[in-house]
Point group: C2
Chain length 430, copies 2
């Protein structure tokens, strides 16, 4: 690539504006690090007149972002539009077809179409880079694809959604319930008006599907990710977790087992003295278990203008310097289809919260159900004592297969003294 | 580079044996990730007959490691001998002169001769890679040089020596004093028989000098690192830290200030709820403050066969794939000499422990000294009450210049009621 690298940016929202700022403020630094003079030559956004705090003078404006793919003055295309289809996808496909490297922050796109795009990138010898798509400013894709290249990975897991982590941290610190804290988060701008994408775990699942592919050398398989969000986590769960020596975090977990790969996003209990349990607020974190390196952890901001733009610019520098890596770490043809293990086959310890009337024999009945399913109980604790009102019974199991636990909870739900649907939270094994 | 990459290993100690194991166990994986078939073709070690758990059949043995540089069947030289001079240095120089890429885990060599070696690497267009030299298995060099390339770095600091962190963690957990815990650590193999290199901070300082160069684009300047080890940390300090909401860790800190760059290794108090304060035992951690990405943290094993070999192999994969980066992130000619700030100019908060006779007026005298040096006190606490025996007075200052604090402590030491030399520990600002 020439020593003058011309960049086209599609999408001038938060991240696009951040990239413009970095390139403007750090021109000399980036030239020293990349060996290239970086210039933004073309952009495309929704509104040409909007003040983004950065001048667009002398930069070509394209009304249709797809035209960046054909602009002869653009060497690298940044796709910062978002969305798994539509213009974002069109632009990436067209750019790669033209042999133009693409940098994207679009996790939905990669989770849904990553395999096809990686194939296209290889066929046309154009790099497809996406450090910003997972865990924002944390260079986790680089760490996994390159820094840990000497390891077979057995597990990668992390806090992949800052909104959920903010809500769970606030619930812990204030004792508040989910709905109230979500409302506060929305008022503060930490959660969207339509928060489902974040709090129902979809965003984290997109990122997890990408991490899984890189970690295990297998095609991206978003459809098989088990997804459960944080709406049902209660203040009582958080208190119970704390008493048991845990914290509750929404984790994405990809794990290699004898049966294949588990991919799951759900609330987890993690021992309170681990690095990841101490990741608070909007921060993200990823933990990787490699066979030679053992455990390494990565913590930083998972979203926002600066962190996300930082990751985009790192990809630009890689491309400018000619540092090339296959999209998901190995060439598409060398990828292995590894079976995905359904969550029902997951084996682990569980926290269980039952809500029952405090009648004689209820504990005996519960215990019998667990015995019949061959589930060993590590601890059992009844909260309060009241024949009029429901009480909570909190259980921690030893390792058990999820299907057995689900069967047991189904039986308990049908007890005459059961007041509410039993709840459970998976405990992370360390 | 050819698709068959031939590796020569100098030094068959722990790390060398680990590299042999990874290449043997992960041949296919490494081929998929590097696009090259990696073979160890030549080695050199102290004892040809020693059992290393890996076969050396079919591998050329060199009695003199330097001969690896001239072996026509070696494409990449691994220098795993150690030591800042002698054979290790000779081998690196000779290999680079021959245009052969070098991978090393040798922090002392890079701290002492990094600039000359980087220049040599550039002149002869041969890569000099050293991920394993800093923080073992944590891919921190890659993160700093590449992953955070879009940022001006304002500070990098970390737990860079596992032996010290193990000792400090054990002191915290057991309440024991330094000498006893060091003895245990030696018995367990976590500390060397001659522990000075670790516990006096030299090893951490080597690593910090390298991090400083990469973070700030300035030549390596080990000579200007302020170094203070952990021998003087007492059980009482650890207890006091805990009560104040801190933990004590040996940190290497490189910070850009208006006056230049501070480089210092010394025990620090860090707020107990930070990621780095929760890094225990032999683990290492590095925190980087970048202007766009904000704070990112990296945690993992800083030593040992597997983690160090993992880092070495990552460098090999980079070289095999042709991913090239200037040694310290930018070409030598583009580096800037930045003044180093002496520790006396450091401005920060301090923990101070005085040992005095509990006579009327002692607190007034101490307070007057601090007032005269314009040092503002955040908290002051006297431990115990005894006219016969010495008591401890524990102070925390607001931000103050170190020179002023040192003057104040000198005056206090000369008090008639002073029993021991006042001690201080720097507090990390967040």
């Amino acid at each position: 690539m020439s020593t003058n690298v011309r960049i086209g940016i599609a999408g001038l929202g938060t991240v696009g504006a951040g990239v413009l700022k970095i390139i403007k403020e750090h021109g000399d630094l980036l030239e020293a690090r990349s060996g290239a003079h970086l210039t933004v030559t073309a952009v495309s956004g929704r509104d040409k007149t909007k003040d983004r705090g950065v001048s667009l003078d002398g930069i070509t404006w394209h009304d249709d972002a797809r035209d960046l793919a054909d602009d002869p003055n653009v060497d690298i295309v940044l796709e910062l539009i978002g969305g798994s289809d539509g213009v974002a996808k069109d632009l990436c496909v067209k750019s790669l077809l033209n042999g133009k490297p693409v940098v994207t922050a679009n996790k939905a796109l990669l989770a849904e179409h990553g395999n096809a795009l990686a194939k296209l990138a290889e066929t046309h010898n154009a790099q497809l880079a996406y450090e910003a798509a997972v865990a924002g400013g944390i260079p986790i894709i680089k760490a996994l694809r390159e820094g840990l290249a000497g390891n077979a990975i057995s597990r990668v897991y992390g806090i992949l959604n800052g909104t959920c982590n903010y809500i769970l941290t606030e619930m812990e610190e204030t004792g508040g319930e989910f709905d109230a804290i979500l409302k506060d988060a929305q008022d503060l701008g930490y959660a969207e008006a339509d928060p489902g994408f974040d709090i129902d775990g979809v965003d984290a699942a997109h990122k997890l599907a990408i991490l899984t592919s890189v970690a295990f050398g297998t095609p991206v398989d978003f459809a098989s990710v088990y997804i459960e969000g944080i709406r049902n986590v209660t203040a009582a769960d958080i208190t119970a977790a704390s008493e048991l020596g845990y914290r509750i975090r929404l984790l994405g977990v990809a794990r290699r087992t004898e049966k294949g790969i588990e991919q799951r996003v759900h609330p987890c209990m993690i021992r309170h003295d681990t690095t990841i349990a101490n990741v608070n607020g909007v921060f993200n974190a990823v933990v990787v278990d490699g066979d030679f390196v053992d455990e390494t952890s990565y913590v930083g901001r998972g979203a926002g203008e600066g962190p996300t733009a930082s990751a985009v610019v790192a990809d630009i520098v890689d491309i400018a310097l000619g540092r090339h890596t296959p999209t998901f770490g190995i060439p598409v043809e060398k990828m292995t289809d590894i079976p995905k293990v359904p969550v029902a086959d997951h084996v682990g310890a569980y926290y269980v919260c039952l809500t029952v009337y405090d009648q004689p024999g209820v504990i005996a009945d519960v215990s019998a159900v667990f015995r019949d399913e061959n589930i060993s109980i590590e601890s059992l604790l009844q909260r309060g004592r009241s024949k009029q009102e429901a009480v909570s019974v909190i259980l921690v199991t030893h390792e058990v297969q999820e299907a057995a636990l689900v069967r047991a909870l189904g039986k308990i739900e049908n007890f005459t003294h059961s007041v509410a649907k039993p709840r459970m939270i998976r405990i992370v094994s360390l």
